[in-house]
Subunit: 134 residues, 2 copies
DNA sequence: ATAAACCCTGGAGCGTACTCCAGAGTCAAG
DNA sequence: CTTGACTCTGGAGTACGCTCCAGGGTTTAT
């Protein structure tokens, strides 16, 4: 697979792939170089790119994702350590979810109060009434 | 209140406050200028800064927060429009939470599978056994 | 054989959210 | 009245995650 096909299949730009390589997220374990010096990727690169995508979606920086990958692939790291590391990452995600939930509830409360205030001051009919009249 | 006190009370740097002002998140509604040209803030600035903090925690960019503030303060925007706008923002947060939850579940599943694989291949004793023997 | 479409590298540029600095004025304590 | 801590402005610098470009070589279709 040449770089543009990988880009297409992963939904990324060719530049992004070369950038990921530059910062160490992709390396020669994912491709070989032929006579023409073109990268010839194998399927494993798509798995790696999916992992990067998931990591980003979970709010990790590329540097953190690099760390995770390094931890995962390090043979001198015991499975127990890997498990501990990933459980730590999972709990970071849980913390993030809880934080977002708190923000959500806070904003929701503010909004509800604002809605109530609107009905009471009566500058506009309450939405329910509008709906009833429609 | 001088700028350094606001910074201290809000847990931000003086530079950050001036930066927020530069991009329009803070303005002369939050302070007056004395003879010496120093900013003299009133308490309202702390409310604004808290709003910015919450917005950022919810994953909005400063530009988006600026928009939100502008929408909120615009007199020509009807309460109904404001409510609709904020309900939209709330649903964005909900989407984010759902996304994080999916990522969490995905990683958790992977981790569980890895743990199982570790137990089966038996390169190490299962954690439970380790605990039992301890 | 030639043109279009691809590949390569190294490096510049961009948007976001700060952070730091120079150079100048102001204020408070001793 | 000096000294040190504060304030001001404008602008440069930083880290992140790309994105684009120049200037070169290669492949492919006609």
């Amino acid at each position: 697979m040449k770089i543009s096909e990988v880009a297409k299949r992963a939904g990324l730009s060719v530049d992004t792939l070369r950038f990921y390589e530059k910062i160490g997220l992709l390396d020669s374990t994912h491709y070989t170089r032929g006579e023409n010096n073109y990268r010839a990727y194998d399927e494993s690169v798509l798995v790696r790119l999916e992992l990067i995508r998931h990591g980003q979606a979970a709010g990790f920086t590329l540097a953190e994702i690099g760390e995770v990958v390094a931890a995962w692939e390090a043979d001198q790291v015991s499975p127990a350590q890997k498990i501990a590391y990933f459980e730590g990452k999972l709990s970071e995600i849980e913390t993030q979810i809880a934080r977002l939930q708190r923000i959500h509830d806070y904003l929701n409360l503010k909004l509800e109060r604002f809605k109530e205030a609107q009905c009471l001051t009566g500058t506009r009919p309450a939405p329910e009434r509008l709906a009833e009249n429609a």
